[in-house]
Structure formats: C-alpha cells, structure tokens
Symmetry: C2
C-alpha cells in the first residue's frame, strides 16, 4: 500500500530523493565528515531564515525550540500572544518552565495586531520578551509578524521578539534580519518538506547575550550550549545524522527552486484553495490574515469530514479535520512544502466529486 499524499499541516510529503538520502552510511559526529555536513547546512539555513546571524539546529520537534526560547531567553516574565492552539501551547510550555506568562487572548480566527502587543507591553513594562506564532495551523491565520515586531521594537526596544515560524518558514515571507526578530524557530516537517525530527532557529546576538543572565537554562535546549558547539561545527549531543543527510539534499533543492519562487508558489496555491473554499463553504480566518500555507475551511455545509477523508484516502490523499474545539466546524487543507498547484487541482477535483455524490446526490 502506498502512503497517501499529505494535505495535512505536517509531516508533509518528502520527495523521494530526500527520503533516500537518509539511508546513507552512518558517520561519527565528532569527525571531519560531520563538521563538513554541518557547516554545509548553516549558510543554506541562513538563506532560508533570511539572516546573516546565527542559526542553530537541534534534534527535536519545534516544540523543543519553544522550550529553548522561553527557557534560555526569559528570566521571569513573557507576554504570549495567543489566537490559536499553538500560541496557547507555547504559553503553556513557558509556564511549565516556571515563567510568568502574560497571555494576550485574541479570538481564534482573528488576526493578531500590533495593538495587542502594545497594550500588553504598556501594562507589563517588566516583560522581557513576547512570543508570537507566525502561522496558526489551528485556524488558518497568518499573523502580521513584521508589523507586530516593528511596533514592539519602537515601543519597547529591549523586549525580545520570539517567533514560531514552524508552519511558515520556506512557504511564506519571513525576514529574520529585516524584521528585527530575536528568535525564530521552525520544524523540518512543514514547509521545508523534510522528515520530522529536526528543528532550526535563528538567534540574535542580543538574545544570546540575554541568555547569560538567565539561570537554570537546562542543557539539551540551552541556546548558549548549542551556540558554543555550533562555533566548532558540532552539536552538544549526537544529532539525527540521517535527517541531516536529508536536510543537505532538500535545502539545496529549496534554494534551487528559489526561496521567493517557493513563497509565490505557496501564495498561488493559497489563493486557489481559498477562492474555492469561499465559494463552496466559507473561510474560518479573518480576511487579510489568511495563511499562505494552510486553508481552514469553515464547514458551513456541515459535511462529515471523516467520510470525506475516507473517500480522499481511496484516492491517495488525506486532509485534516478541524483542530481541537474546531473539529466538525472546520476542516483544513495544507498546501505546504512540496505540494504543487497540480496536486491542489487534483485534490479539489476529488472533493468536488465527493460533494456532487454525497451532498447534492
């Protein structure tokens, strides 16, 4: 049985050439072959993060780097902007690490705005950092990180800006340096279309300087420890070498496509799916804040998404049901990673066929 094409928000489909790279023979992680591999990845990651600064990698999911960010960069208090499940979860991770969290709750489906950050900063001038999820796959909202970051830098220049770009990096514009972001994290298995198990982050110099003031940063996700080893082309602990082989192949492919071309491909797929969804159903995310990498369809026709997905599986495809409390009320189509416009057309044609049979029929 061949696995279905994944229109889910990660793990995404991995190109065969990339998948096969994982099978290369194992090497030691304290030798010259490893350092060559590691050091070959860094400039390409910098290109993807749009930074000239430090990029670190860790064997973990993006969740691990949520922990790294709040644990290494926040001594006491952090503002967490929340308009979906992942913003919520990052706040939970901060609390689980003993940090005082100021949650800024915005209705799911609505976009975050600079004023949400500014109000919280005014009320909490002792906040050291602010977290924001760029792309909320629970709701299909893409938050305006550039505008939020600009407002924060202007109002509170010392506050660090921590950004979850898990489901956007590589699929939508994100400019670490130009937007003045201090910590940007992503996962391998979303728009980068790598197997899961690696997480990458960009860290500003001032963020790393701040880490020196934060006690009990732990070890595995301590940004200072990761940075120290990275300077000599290594990782503190044995990394997932076979996944780094895959990254070596896939980052080259991404830059060969061209990062901006890749963004534009995602934008066009989003435009197509969202035009279709608006006509047939409705869109859960507020206009002006809709994601380039995932569409959250408002289930205005009350279809049984489980039945639709069973049909799609018979056609070698799979989409996502609504997330948590939105289950039943929404369903989600991810158009990220190596999904191409023709895959989207095939998917929409299959859904149309099912609608004709099951709903109209």
């Amino acid at each position: 049985m061949s696995a279905p094409m994944l229109f889910i928000p990660g793990p995404t489909w991995v190109p065969e050439e990339v998948a096969r790279a994982q099978a290369r023979p194992m090497i030691g992680h304290r030798g010259p072959e490893f350092t060559a591999l590691f050091e070959g990845l860094i400039p390409r990651l910098q290109a993807v993060f749009r930074t000239r600064g430090r990029v670190l990698l860790v064997t973990a999911s993006g969740t691990g780097l949520w922990e790294a960010g709040v644990r290494s960069l926040v001594r006491r208090k952090v503002i967490c902007l929340i308009n979906g499940a992942f913003g919520e979860r990052w706040a939970h991770v901060a609390q689980a690490n003993g940090k005082e969290v100021v949650p800024v709750q915005v209705e799911w489906g609505r976009g975050l705005r600079p004023e949400h950050a500014l109000e919280a900063l005014a009320a909490h001038p002792d906040a050291e950092a602010i977290t924001v999820v760029h792309n909320e796959t629970s709701t299909g909202v893409m938050n305006p990180v550039a505008e939020i970051a600009a407002a924060v830098r202007d109002a509170s220049p010392d506050v660090l800006i921590l950004v979850d770009a898990v489901s956007s990096l590589g699929g939508a514009p994100l400019e670490t340096d130009a937007w003045g972001l201090d910590f940007v994290l992503t996962s391998s298995q979303k728009c980068l279309a790598l197997p899961p198990g690696l997480a990458f982050c960009a860290v500003s110099d001032r963020a790393l300087a701040k880490a020196h003031e934060v006690p009990h940063r732990g070890y595995y996700f301590d940004l200072l420890t990761l940075a120290r080893y990275a300077e000599r082309g290594e990782t503190p602990a044995t990394p997932a070498i076979s996944l780094l082989y895959a990254a070596d192949v896939q980052l080259a492919r991404i830059l060969e496509e061209g990062l901006e071309v890749r963004w534009e491909r995602h934008r066009r797929m989003a435009e197509r799916v969202q035009a279709w969804a608006a006509e047939r159903f409705g869109l859960f995310a507020e206009a002006g804040f809709r994601s380039w990498t995932l569409t959250c369809v408002a289930n205005t026709r009350g279809i049984d998404v489980g039945v639709l997905n069973a049909f799609l599986r018979s056609r070698g495809k799979v989409i996502s049901s609504g997330y948590g409390p939105l289950k039943g009320k929404t369903f989600r189509i991810a158009h990220m990673g190596e999904i191409q416009p023709h895959h989207v057309e095939e998917l929409l044609a299959d859904i149309e066929e099912w609608l004709r049979r099951e709903v109209s029929g």
Copy 2:
C-alpha cells in the same frame, strides 16, 4: 567513497535494511498508521529493557533523557555517582536544571561499588534519587548496577535509581524490573545500531508518581506528558517518524537474534579485544569492571592514535581516540551494535599489521 566501519562508541554501523527503512513514505503523526507503528514498537522495547512496565520514546539523544530524568524525578537533591565523563556530564545536566547535586567522585578507570552509593546516602538522607552510568565509554568501565541498586533499595527504599544504559542496552545484561530500577534510558545509535535521533526509557510507576510532586518539569522532556500521550499511542510532539520506521525493522532483527544471544556476542567480542589489548598494550579499566561493549586500551606503547586511525581509515575502519583528558593516554575500540566477531578479527589484524610496520619496523 564508502563510509568506514565504525568501531566508535556511537553512532554505530546501521544495517542497510534498517537504513533503507527510513526512506518509507511519510505519514501523519495523529492517525491510525502512526499509532500502529508506535504500538508495535512498545512491546519490543519492553523486551529489550526487560520490563513489563512503561517504556517511553522521545526524539532526542540520550542527553535529552538525562534531562528528563533529573528534571521530572528530582525535586531538590540528587546523588550522582561519577567515574567518567558521562557520569560527570549527567551531574552537570542536573545542575543546569537547578538541582542540588551530591557528586560522588571515583577515579576514572575504577569501578563504582555499592559502598560509594551507601556512604553518600548516609551523609545525605534527603537525597531523592541517585544517578549511575552503567557503561562509561570514556573509560571502558561497566559499573555493577545490579549490586548498587540492591544496596540502595535496601538502605534507602524511597530513593529513585536512575540509570544511563546508553552504551549498554542491547549489548550487555540490564534487567530493569529484576534489578528494581526506576528510570533507565538509552540512545538509538549505540548497541541498538539504529541511526541517532531517538532515545528510549523505562520508567517505574513510583517514579512517575514522584513526578507529580516536582514543579517546573518543562514540556518536551516531561515524563508525565510523554506518558499521557503514550497511553493513546502517540507522542506529545511530532516524532522522527523515519527513525521509528528504522526502529521497527531493527527491533525485530534484535529480537530475532535473541537478546541474550546478542549480549553473549558482545561478551565474546569484549573478551577477544581485551585479551589482545592486555597482551599488546594494557587495559585502562580495572579488572572485574570491564565493559562488554567497548575496550579502553591503555596506550602503554605511546603510539600516535591519529596515525593509526589514518591507516585504519585506508582499510575502511575507524576507532576512537581517548576521551577528553585521556586523549593520547588511551584509545578506544567499540564492539557494539551490529559489529560481529569477524569484524573484530579484521580490525585487530589491521592494527597488528600497522604495529609491525610502524612500531617494530
């Protein structure tokens, strides 16, 4: 260029069938295919850990589970038995997590004994746990965990026993249940001969109960969170699915060989390498405490290990230099994982040839 055969203490050589399994098509981590994969691994991991209890897995190296153990299971104070670099590092990780560490330092190369634990427990009756590294690859010492655990249980029944079996599990006897161990961790890339990136642990019920009393356990390595998701056949964060595919194939291979047969294979290889080393050089580890999975050779002839290794590389093999302060004074031959007795013979023949040419010649 084909990669050399790795006689280093991890990552170890991965069989081709296992390496290729990583290239299987990607699946979602919240669907039935994943749960089937996950739930297929658990009983086989229990067999390898020799436990009927809970086994958890996480996408990380064993270092991550060091952190999980001390952060989830120790509220304030932990005794760390140290007779090598890895015992030392685990203590450091505990400190980095804000725990008070009672270090029990034993000379590198000497074995830990029950009295080392008992003296520390007598002096620190408020210690909640004790850490011990089963197999110290920095020195070639295998510590008598069964005896130490029995003494600790007898003297201080409430103290949790945390064991690093990173470089022993699957290559030397370790009995989680029969020895009464509370937390046993290992890495994928040592005796299990999987690619790096996964870590596994067995956790006793009383250890998990203790975790409820420990605040600020974090999230990614929180044993309670991992256990809660494992109950429904999932992981809290997206795991390294391609590495789980490899584990699926390799755990079947290990149990097909037979765990006790595998231990015996390691014992015989150790016996052979250690007899050779004793004759030609010397052994760094104290008699009676020598590892089944790695031999730390005392460099009594003052050979240049770098030159030897360059020669071995030309023969498609690689060994390890001495660890940290033991560099130059020792070198290390790992005989773990899928290394077979005939590989050991080939390696020793190559070293003999080099010795004849370079040292005697």
